[in-house]
Amino acid sequence: MKYLDEYRDGELAQQLAREIHRITTKPWNIMEVCGGQTHAIVKFGIDELLPRQINLIHGPGCPVCVTPLEMIDKALEIAARPGVIFTSFGDMLRVPGSTTDLLSVKAQGGDVRIVYSPLDAVKLAEQNRTREVVFFGVGFETTAPATAMAVFQAAQKGLKNFSMLISHVLVPPAIEALMSSPNCRVQAFLAAGHVCAIMGYEEYPPLAAKYRVPIVVTGFEPLDILQGILMCVQQLESGRAEVENQYTRAVRKEGNQPAQQILGEVFRVVPRKWRGVGEIPASGLGLSAAYAAYDAEKKFGLVDRHVDEPADCLSGQVLQGRIKPHECPAFGKRCTPEHPLGATMVSSEGACAAYHRYRRQPTEAII
């Protein structure tokens, strides 16, 4: 397929892998930040092509996985109310809250609908003026501009029956939090290409300099990821710690400025709790004062709701790269995609789900 098959070419992949083998002399820990990259690595078996010294650590970049439990609980509570149409991206529906999930709320009669764009939720609000339409705005900088645009349009149309439950998160503060943790093992990052397509990568040079880590903006296809790893290893082996861009076909240094403008207009930076990690300062987006009327937490009186996470789920340690998914005692036993304990097992981009789906046993056992 055009623009896809080219980036999945077996021969080119082998060439890149051979070059990585050739230049690697020491063990290196490289973290891919984005869940989409984790998914591709496990799906295509990219890590199997790498030298044993290269250890890929799966980072916290799955928006479904890091949405805090209390936010899911708030979603469940709003969705169960009569008169509400609760809209969400598809993969949030199976994420377990404290007691249930959105699919179950739907089965019990809640009006929960999958939308492909937040703008579809605005349309629903226009068509259903007597009902409250709520959109569950989750995701990184990638999805945030569309959420912002939806709020912006709802305000322009003067819609009173539309609101957003916002749990947007930001990547650079998460990298900073990981690097400043005393037992951090990460020596280089593959930065998430799609996030950088929006935000550019001007935020990264200070991080690379402060923590002496190479950061390579990387795409999502097998050849992208292999090339990103190669660029990391080249830097590591030569003692450099710079920001480089592998994903030049999509990412410019300054990013997408109209998208950044709408983000600045509608949102403000707030502290945000990450599931399994805890609160990270200045790591989330919340509605700015001018758009506070669209805040579903305020509208439905749920601002001061706090929930603790179950202790038997080690997803926090997985998200921070401290353990691999199959090293968790619950993995594949008490915790499966059908009955997930934590969000990393729910989303197809979650590291636990990716391991469970593609690799329940050591890779040696697969021919």
Partner: protein, 329 residues
């Protein structure tokens, strides 16, 4: 429509819609039960209910699907389809014209499959109690071969063959249902697949197992067979036929086309010696023109399906858990 009471109106429905459309000597007797003779030997029987929204979609509709689906289940035993029963559950208020279109489509599909609809039933339910129309069909077919076609008969070394490009039905339905617009319209692959199966049998291909690829796609079918047969199956990504538009739509929505539903595709496990010949025979028929060998049964072992990616590494190919949900980004 308010034809559920069993009186005059229901009679009209039978006289004006179902009777003329499906007319054949067995049905035309209008008896409580159909009477027919069958050839001596083994018969196959199967039943399925069809619930699909929307009722009409690119490449098919609930009527043709209700015929093809049941014919295809018969075909998976290597049976030649003979007779079909059909039961309609109609939601009050369904336009007569819609029902007529569905019935005509069933008639045409049955004719194409050379089978007769010989008995049926109609119920009308209150408005709001159904999605317009549900159809159940039961099929009877005759088995004219001596093979044991079943998962338990799958053997080490068997070639795994798919009969055509995958994922079209599921993506066609999703595109209409969710109002997604792609550059070209993706049409469902809904079609009868008994002809290619009968052609394989006629040519003396040693078929060990057949499975039609419906909900859950190829991934589900292979896992079910691996489980039932107690075998390890290894397939390759590269030879699996996909249409570009289906692949692109799946990529965009974050779906795995190996998990997406089909309505006119099957997977065949045949003795390795016959694999090449089987593909050649399948490719002679339009419905299976893109047939390809995609892998093999490795050994009798703990059930497992693996797939080798285009870049040469292997992973598990799992069953989908529940309905596939489009991803965030």
């Amino acid at each position: 429509m308010a034809h559920g009471g069993g009186g005059k109106l229901m009679h009209q429905l039978l006289e004006r819609v179902f009777g003329p459309a499906f007319s054949n000597p067995i049905l035309d007797t209008r008896h409580d039960s159909a009477q027919f003779t069958v050839p001596l030997g083994k018969l196959a029987m199967t039943t399925d209910s069809y619930v699909v929204r929307p009722l009409f979609f690119p490449g098919g509709d609930i009527g043709s699907m209700a015929v093809h689906g049941t014919v295809n289940d018969l075909a998976m035993s290597g049976a030649r389809p003979l007779y079909l029963s059909c039961a309609f559950i109609i939601e009050e208020g369904l336009p007569m014209e819609t029902l007529w279109r569905v019935v005509c489509s069933m008639r045409d599909a049955a004719q194409r499959c050379s089978l007769q609809i010989i008995t049926g039933d109609t119920k009308v339910v209150d408005k709001g109690k159904g999605d317009g129309l549900y159809i159940n069909t039961t099929g009877i077919g005759v088995i004219e071969h001596a093979l044991n076609i079943a998962p338990q008969n799958v053997q080490s070394g068997d070639a795994v063959i798919v009969s055509g490009d995958l994922g079209r039905h599921g993506m066609a339905i999703m595109a209409v249902r969710e109002g997604l617009q792609f550059e070209s319209t993706i049409e469902s692959d809904s079609a009868p697949i008994h002809e290619p199966v009968l052609a394989l049998l006629q040519a003396g291909i040693e078929i060990h197992c057949l499975r039609d690829l419906t909900r859950g796609g190829l991934a589900s079918a292979l896992n079910e067979i691996a489980e039932a047969a107690g075998v390890k199956i290894a397939i390759e990504q590269k030879p699996i036929p996909f249409r570009e538009d289906v692949n692109a739509a799946c990529e965009m929505l974050g779906l795995d086309p190996l998990h997406v539903a089909n309505e006119g595709r099957f997977v065949a496990f045949v003795a390795a010696k016959d694999a090449e010949r089987a593909v050649k025979i399948l490719r002679q028929q339009q419905v299976s023109a893109n047939a390809a060998v995609i892998g093999k049964v490795v050994e009798k072992a703990a059930p497992l399906v693996t797939i080798r990616s285009t870049i040469g590494a292997s992973r598990i190919l799992d069953m989908p858990s529940g309905e596939q949900l489009p991803r965030i980004c």
